[in-house]
């Protein structure tokens, strides 16, 4: 294989993977706590990695799970690099769950998404990842355990505790909105 083939071959596949999974990556990053104004940059980082690593992806595996692993790692690193920003945000009062007006059919689901994303911020990051994988992205507990290299029992316990944290945050946010 020539060097040109090595570059052009994966590129053709990359475009399909990019177009097919662009939304998935953005949605996943958002669920993992990447802020809206940083999504483009972080998504770009993800796809640079995807481009480099596409030939190492094993087709018998799940592309979404593979991508999720990359998203998780980059989002985690991004969070550490932006820690000072996160800390300053933590000092701010809880975000009120309403925002710019939307068409009626979108307003309700947008409200729900904002509530979910804000509540997710109250969940411990490790548990948040497991909760997102299981209850939002619907990966199986076995897939999660293998991807995160943790025992299945740990996955179960993290889901359980994360749900409790999430539930409490939702209750708190709804009360805040109602007041």
């Amino acid at each position: 294989m020539t060097k040109a083939d090595a570059v052009c071959g994966p590129r053709a596949d990359f475009r399909t993977v990019f177009r097919t999974h662009y939304r998935f990556v953005r949605v996943t990053l958002r669920r993992l706590g990447v802020r809206e104004n940083e999504l483009d940059d972080v998504a770009q980082d993800i796809f640079v990695i995807v481009y480099r690593k596409l030939d190492t992806f094993r087709s018998e595996g799940s592309m979404e799970l593979w991508l999720f692993g990359i998203c998780l790692r980059v989002a985690s690193r991004h969070r550490r690099l932006a820690r000072h920003r996160v800390q300053s945000q933590e000092e701010e009062p809880i975000e009120v769950i309403d925002g710019s007006p939307l068409p009626d059919d979108h307003a309700e689901v947008e409200q729900a998404r904002r509530l979910v994303l804000t509540a997710l911020d109250a969940v411990d990051p490790q548990r948040r990842a497991v909760f997102v994988m299981h209850d939002l992205n619907e990966f199986s507990a076995t897939e999660i355990a293998e991807t995160l290299s943790i025992p299945l029992g740990t996955v179960y316990s993290r889901i359980r505790v994360a749900r409790e944290e999430f539930r409490q945050a939702v209750t708190r946010l709804r009360a805040h909105r109602g007041s």
Partner: protein
């Protein structure tokens, strides 16, 4: 105080999510599936990636040729040559003294063609949180380049991205064995993902060329060979579009209903439904 993981891991799977939370998460997912913001910048970002990160030519000579003319001409000037040699010597001495003192990445000295050694700076230290442990998704050596890419998307670094030779086999962590039984898997004996992509891209191209008959033949071939493939959703969407284009609206509607049942939270569901909404 935030609750922690139980000292003892759970032995039983967690129960189903209570209906109220399930409803909330479903609504959030519906928004995720329809938010135009998650579609709008797709082609723009792809173009940006191709123009920068992915678009650097493979030849190193081209890199030199494309370097700023003023710098090159200064270096090639006799006076410049002497000065350059002095600078290089100074630089080499400086590098020698720094070696071992720091473990910083030396991007300015790395040739894009030299093999990438395992990037230990990208690997998380042992004391990091478990979520930062290496994930068996081959991403451990990459995050550093990614984070650099966001802070400074320098062309030189980007050139390393795709000129670097394939990683040594020992760096390629295997996907978990259980994945082979995943219902979404492609059958490697049939060519795997590359073949899936070829079929789907060909079908998409035929649809663009207003040739739904051939597109339908291609998606049916994909369905036969990869019934639960990675690109099953894309295949179904193309299938519905082809049927719709050929006037088989009833069949397209049935197929849409099947899609809805099979991929209830599928990110392509809104697009699929829009296809039929536009049908007579």
């Amino acid at each position: 105080m935030k609750p922690n993981d139980s000292p003892m891991d759970d032995l039983e799977p967690p129960p189903s999510l209570e209906p109220e939370l399930r409803e909330l998460l479903d609504a959030a997912r519906r928004r995720d599936a329809t938010d135009p913001a998650d579609e709008a910048g797709c082609e723009e970002l792809l173009a940006r990636l191709e123009a920068t990160a992915l678009g650097t030519p493979p030849s190193r000579k081209d890199d030199v040729k494309d370097a700023p003319r003023s710098t090159l001409s200064w270096i090639l000037h006799p006076v410049g040559t002497v000065a350059s040699l002095c600078l290089l010597a100074t630089f080499a001495v400086g590098t020698g003294t720094r070696e071992g003192a720091h473990d910083e990445p030396r991007t300015s000295q790395s040739s894009p063609l030299e093999p990438r050694s395992p990037d230990r700076s990208a690997a998380p230290p042992h004391q990091e949180a478990p979520e930062d442990r290496p994930i068996p998704t081959h991403v451990d050596a990459l995050a550093s380049s990614a984070s650099s890419a966001s802070s400074a998307r320098a062309p030189v670094q980007v050139a390393r991205v795709h000129l670097a030779p394939p990683r040594a086999p020992e760096r390629q962590m295997p996907m978990p064995a259980a994945k082979s039984s995943s219902p979404r898997s492609s059958d490697p004996s049939h060519g795997g993902l590359a073949e899936e992509i070829r079929l789907i891209e060909s079908a998409r191209a035929r649809m663009t060329a207003k040739d739904p008959t051939t597109a339908l033949r291609l998606v049916r071939e994909h369905e036969r060979r990869f019934p639960d493939g990675q690109l099953a959703q894309q295949r179904e969407w193309l299938h519905i579009q082809a049927l719709d284009e050929m006037g088989s609206v009833k069949e397209a509607r049935e197929r849409t209903e099947q899609f809805r049942k099979r991929f209830p939270g599928g990110l392509l569901l809104p697009s699929v439904e829009r296809t039929l909404d536009a049908a007579p």
